[in-house]
């Protein structure tokens, strides 16, 4: 049993619960001594801009190539041949926008024989609004974003999507990454009155949260929230696994347990609170609209109540008769005549008398049930007219009082060891940012510390994410772990050069992207080579381009794009697309299971990019899940890539796939009439950005002799070439 109503946790209980005296933390000297000798680890030393190797080799287009080629040469490796032009445009368009190039774009690029045709293409794509969407998908994995709370109730967060839109916009508008950090960590404290910065603080609340009724240990709940937030800050911005130091000193990195709780203390004044940002006029209009809406629902709700009434009363009556004598006696007494024991028994009798929806449904005669079902349908139809919620930031603010933060033995809030003050992990020192004193400005201090140009990790961690995103594997393979257990950079000079270049370019992600995309390294073919593989099987030296599979989201988007139905609207509240009955059935509810997934009324919305589909933590869309969509429970630095039969089933047999195949065929027929060869050529151009080779042409002609065009389209969209970036 659960309760659907709950009160948001009161956050100050920790202070009350801490009735016994706990000392202040006094082990600074000891922890300092433990950490000091290990500050020398590469990741904790500030990156120093290395000299760019002077190679005088035509392959070298920019500094990236110089570093890579120099490293390759040391291993007697040579770069791979460049990718053909038609494949290159498919690669770069998928990478920068998450969508395949249109035939027109391909033709233009192929026809452009100017020496900077490719650079112009990169420039054009980086200005596309889809650029920010592409980055948005990646960043939201890292930020463990979803649209619901998770756990059993898994309620929707009606305002969370503004953070998603903030992210898309930030990448599109080249928001400097240091500012991007500041806004997400402490937009409310650093930029008061700036709604965009306020929305950015939704980062702290992007993760799961457990909200449930009944007896609750509020102090434990608060610890869970703080643990979640602290872990996210550490993984996402520091690239450190500080959460490992929650129960004990970090086993591999110089992070004493005290430092974990010092970081937690920086977040301990954070209040998870929505803030209405609408104007007063909007608020008033909204109130009126809600009133009118409720008035629309009421007549139908009343009718349903009226229909159920005799049956509910009868059921209740039966339950009343079945009450054991002492309970009935207590219940029958007037309220003011009950003693304490009778009050308890009367209350318990009341809960025995409760009639649930399924009990009522079980006794309704079929004709009455049908009338009621019709009314419920009407009601659900009317619910579509519910006014949009008033504009609100899913954000955080700061408490004016905060409980002490304690070092907890094995992370257990009942076992407090010592009180710590807010502070930064001591392994990173000398940034000149003082830790905050007292209650206010804790997150502001954290934001300044994280975004400092002196910070050894921040820029490295982000350029490594950019690199991993674009090149298919990180220079440091473990994007969320730059510690001892993480991997060492395969090319430390390149990593440091990129980090310093990033800061020198005003922390512009686009600037680093541009460098990568215009390098020779990025333009290499993916073709394997036996001799080179024998030297470097993992391709640590990037002697070829890594082949990458599209995310499930991008496969879905590409299917919509090639048949011309993709709805390219940007942003807004998340969309519910139709789901399979089997998936509907796994939505948890103890209530009446109708209308649990009201799909959007406008079917054009079903064709929106996957980024905008409702991301519900406990109900994943099968196709996306099968292609390794992360579960948004913790920061995901790199998606796993698994290959299994359920992927084939959803790409071959789902209603979605079938519909896209039909549309694809319709488009081909519309553009080519019944001209078979035209249809085949067009299909290849749309789906794979190239024309069919002779063998493919005859294979297709043969197939289409006795198979419908939609099957050909379906086959193309299931092809390896369609789901992999060339």
């Amino acid at each position: 049993m659960r309760r659907t109503s709950f009160t948001i946790a009161v956050l100050l209980l920790a202070a009350v619960a801490c009735a016994y005296a706990v000392d202040r933390y006094k082990d600074d000297a000891k922890d300092d001594a433990w950490v000091a000798p290990r500050r020398n680890f590469w990741a904790f030393r500030k990156p120093v801009r290395p000299e760019v190797p002077q190679l005088n080799n035509p392959w070298v287009r920019n500094s990236i190539d110089a570093f890579l080629l120099s490293a390759m040469q040391s291993q007697k490796l040579t770069p791979s041949a460049p990718l053909e032009k038609e494949k290159l445009i498919r690669r770069v368009t998928l990478d920068l926008t998450g969508l395949p190039p249109t035939p027109g774009e391909v033709d233009l690029f192929l026809a452009d024989k100017s020496p900077d045709a490719y650079e112009k293409l990169v420039d054009r794509l980086m200005k596309s609004p889809h650029y920010g969407e592409r980055w948005g998908l990646r960043w939201l994995d890292i930020a463990r974003y979803a649209d619901t709370n998770g756990f059993e109730l898994d309620s929707e967060r009606p305002h969370a999507w503004r953070y998603r839109d903030y992210v898309v916009k930030a990448f599109n508008h080249e928001k400097p990454y240091n500012l991007f950090i500041q806004e997400q960590i402490a937009g409310d404290e650093l930029f008061p009155g700036n709604n965009e910065a306020l929305v950015a603080t939704g980062f702290h609340r992007a993760g799961p949260i457990h909200l449930v009724g009944g007896n609750q240990d509020e102090e434990m709940n608060r610890q869970e929230v703080l643990t979640e937030m602290t872990t996210a800050v550490s993984n996402v911005f520091l690239g450190l696994t500080m959460q490992c130091a929650r129960c004990h000193n970090h086993k591999f990195d110089p992070i004493p347990q005290s430092d974990y709780y010092k970081l937690q203390a920086l977040l301990a004044t954070t209040d998870l609170k929505d803030k209405v940002i609408a104007s007063d006029a909007d608020k008033q209009a909204h109130e009126a609209a809600v009133k009118a809406y409720k008035a629309r629902l009421k007549p139908i709700e009343d009718q349903i109540k009226e229909i159920e009434k005799p049956y509910r009363e009868k059921l209740r009556d039966e339950k009343y008769k079945a009450l054991e004598a002492p309970f009935r006696a207590a219940y029958d007494l007037p309220k003011d005549k009950r003693d304490k024991e009778q009050q308890r028994m009367a209350k318990e009798a009341e809960s025995q008398l409760k009639v649930s929806w399924d009990e009522v449904l079980a006794v309704l005669p079929p004709d009455v049930k049908a009338v009621r079902a019709g009314l419920r349908k009407q009601l659900h139809q009317l619910e579509y007219t519910q006014p949009e919620p008033v504009e609100t930031a899913y954000a955080v603010s700061s408490l004016e009082k905060a409980a002490d933060t304690h070092i907890l033995k094995v992370g257990d809030h009942k076992m407090k060891i010592a009180i710590v003050e807010p502070g930064f992990p001591r392994v990173i020192s000398g940034l000149g940012v003082p830790p905050p004193e007292g209650i206010t400005g804790r997150r502001a201090a954290l934001a300044k510390w994280l975004s400092s140009a002196e910070h050894p990790l921040t820029a490295r961690v982000m350029v490594n994410r950019i690199w991993a995103f674009r090149m298919g594997s990180g220079l440091v393979k473990t994007g969320n772990d730059f510690g001892a257990l993480g991997s060492r950079p395969s090319n430390p000079q390149l990593l440091d050069w990129l980090a310093t270049e990033f800061m020198a370019s005003n922390w512009s992600v686009k600037a680093i992207d541009r460098l990568i995309f215009t390098s020779s390294a990025y333009r290499q073919a993916t073709l394997d080579n036996k001799a080179k593989s024998a030297i470097d099987s993992e391709n640590k030296y990037y002697w070829r381009m890594n082949r990458r599979r599209l995310e499930g989201e991008s496969i879905r988007d590409a299917m919509l794009a090639v048949n011309g139905h993709l709805n390219t609207k940007i942003g807004g509240r998340p969309i519910k697309v139709p789901i399979e009955p089997e998936i509907y059935d796994i939505i948890f509810t103890e209530g009446e299971p109708d209308n649990l997934w009201p799909v959007d009324q406008d079917p054009k919305q079903f064709n929106r990019r996957s980024l905008y589909l409702l991301n519900k933590r406990t109900v994943r869309l099968p196709m996306l899940q099968n292609f390794d969509q992360p579960d948004a429970m913790s920061s995901c630095p790199v998606r796993p890539v698994s290959t299994h039969a359920l992927q084939a089933l959803s790409l071959m047999n789902s209603d979605f796939a079938a519909e896209q195949a039909k549309r694809f065929a319709q488009r081909l027929t519309a553009e080519c009439s019944a001209d078979r060869d035209c249809q085949i050529r067009r299909a290849y151009k749309l789906a794979l950005a190239r024309l069919p080779r002779a063998a493919e042409m005859s294979m297709a002609q043969q197939f289409l002799k006795d198979a419908p065009l939609e099957d050909f389209g379906l086959a193309l969209m299931n092809r390896n070439e369609f789901v992999y970036i060339p």
Binding site: N235, Q352, G486, M699
Partner: protein, 476 residues
């Protein structure tokens, strides 16, 4: 994924050649040849290839019967006759405040409305709620002293399924599939069958792969013509037509000379497996060939047992066909179809036991008769138990402090009852944490809990976290 971790884990997994050979019946032998001669790329192996146990052990498959909402231990397998004397009284003050979801331990004690008897050679105690199961006690090992951390359903469900009270960790079935791979060429390795009326409160994270690759997630299975989501082509597409499309996909993939490597071969073979599943899965869930005696054994001939009986019969057919882990939920959806007896314990438990008793006994007998019980570990359990004190006068609130689960088959020593709770049936004595539960199950399968790990965000994550104690006495 950290690929090196992953490859390290795939100890003696099948080679790429084997994967291809398995896939060979669908696409041209010529193509197969051309794939096999390409030895350039680092060999990748099917993530579901069968892998050896860490040490020899009997259990090859698991059927986890999960009773959603928490049955009461003191009304089923853990008799406390002494409670009669406490009827209507309060728990002694020395117990202090008792943690539960809605009550605090101050409500009156409610003794069990059912009587208990010893059964079988082993003399195990079972209440009158389980007339059928009580005939199987000599095949069962009861463990009466489990405890768990949360008083709330979903977190406690996450803990018993995945070892943590937070969602997002891989479920036991995912770990086992990751550790042992699949024994079936034609069916998913890990299948899940929820109650038709609704999912357990913990929802899909109970069978998710968490941070493990999606290939290890539980696959929903139901009876009927399309037992797996998207198994069948859309209406109007015949199998012949689909085969033709599939052949075209595979032929085009063969043409992509650049991609003739094991990663692409894995993708090609995944399509073949999908196609094989289409023909095998409907057969696997087709009960029409089952004898009348078998159907009766599972209670398919009676209204109140036929639904759960059907799913348990499916479970047997699954392990028979090499499915590694079968997760079954009894209860889910509306409160009236859960074991969650906050009020009217009698009505609730009689209904829930009535639905499940005969099918469970039928499953154990059937597995035994077919010689499958030795290699199939059957687990019966829930997220917690129920309090000896009352709620709403005639119900019981949640009890994470001590409760019973049982094992059958899979090499355990049957016919024994282990562990105990205090005289009230409230708290486990020398209790076993869920970590011990998991360590024990992994042990039965020949998996060392410390060797079954996955590197996730800088941590060697394991099902048992920092380790549980294998309950050795379960194995005799």
């Amino acid at each position: 994924m950290n690929s090196s971790t992953y490859l390290n884990h795939l100890r003696a997994a099948r080679t790429r050649r084997d994967v291809l050979r398995g896939a060979a019946n669908g696409f041209g032998a010529l193509a197969l040849q051309s794939l096999l001669v390409q030895d350039g790329a680092a060999a990748r192996v099917s993530p579901l290839a069968a892998k050896p146990q860490h040490f020899p052990a009997k259990a090859k498959s698991v059927i986890f019967l999960f009773m959603v909402g928490a049955p009461s231990q003191i009304d089923t397998f853990d008799p406390k006759p002494g409670l009669k004397q406490w009827e209507g009284k309060r728990l002694p003050e020395s117990f202090g405040k008792i943690q539960s979801q809605f009550t605090d331990g101050s409500t009156p004690i409610l003794s069990s409305p059912w009587s208990f008897k010893r059964h079988g050679q082993s003399g195990a105690w079972v209440s009158t709620l389980f007339p059928h199961l009580s005939t199987c006690v000599d095949d069962i090992c009861f463990v009466r002293n489990f405890y768990t951390e949360s008083v709330v359903h979903a977190p406690a469900m996450y803990q018993v399924h995945s070892g943590r009270i937070l969602m997002g960790h891989p479920s036991m079935g995912a770990w086992v599939t990751y550790g042992l791979g699949s024994q079936s060429e034609n069916l998913p390795a890990y299948v899940v069958m929820p109650q038709p009326e609704g999912t357990p409160e913990g929802g899909t994270p109970c069978w998710s792969s968490g941070f493990l690759p999606a290939v290890y997630q539980g696959t929903l299975l139901r009876s009927g013509p399309s037992p797996i989501l998207h198994l069948k082509p859309p209406a109007g597409v015949t199998p012949e037509r689909q085969r033709k499309t599939l052949d075209l996909v595979q032929k085009m993939n063969e043409l992509d000379t650049e991609q003739t490597d094991s990663e692409m071969a894995a993708r090609i073979s995944s399509y073949e497996l999908a196609f094989r599943m289409q023909s095998h899965a409907p057969e696997a869930v087709d009960l029409s060939k089952e004898s009348e005696a078998t159907r009766q054994l599972y209670g398919l001939d009676q209204k109140h047992t036929s639904e759960f009986g059907t799913r348990l019969l499916l479970a047997r057919r699954m392990v028979e066909r090499g499915v590694r882990f079968v997760q079954i939920y009894h209860g889910g959806g509306p409160v009236s179809i859960q074991w969650d007896a906050h009020s009217d314990l009698v009505q609730n438990h009689e209904k829930m036991c009535g639905m499940s008793d005969k099918p469970i006994a039928g499953l154990l007998k059937d597995l035994k008769a077919r010689g499958l019980l030795d290699e199939t570990l059957v687990i019966w359990g829930s997220e917690f138990g129920r309090l000896p004190m009352s709620q709403s006068g005639n119900g019981r609130d949640h009890n994470p402090h001590g409760f019973t689960m049982w094992f059958a088959g899979g090499g355990i020593k049957a016919g024994q009852t282990l562990g105990e709770t205090d005289e009230f049936g409230l708290k486990a004595i020398n209790g076993h944490h869920m970590r011990d539960f998991h360590a024990t199950i992994l042990h039965a399968l020949g998996l060392d809990q410390h060797k079954l790990w996955y590197l996730h965000n800088g941590r060697h994550e394991k099902l048992t976290d920092f380790g549980g104690k294998v309950i050795q006495s379960v194995f005799g």
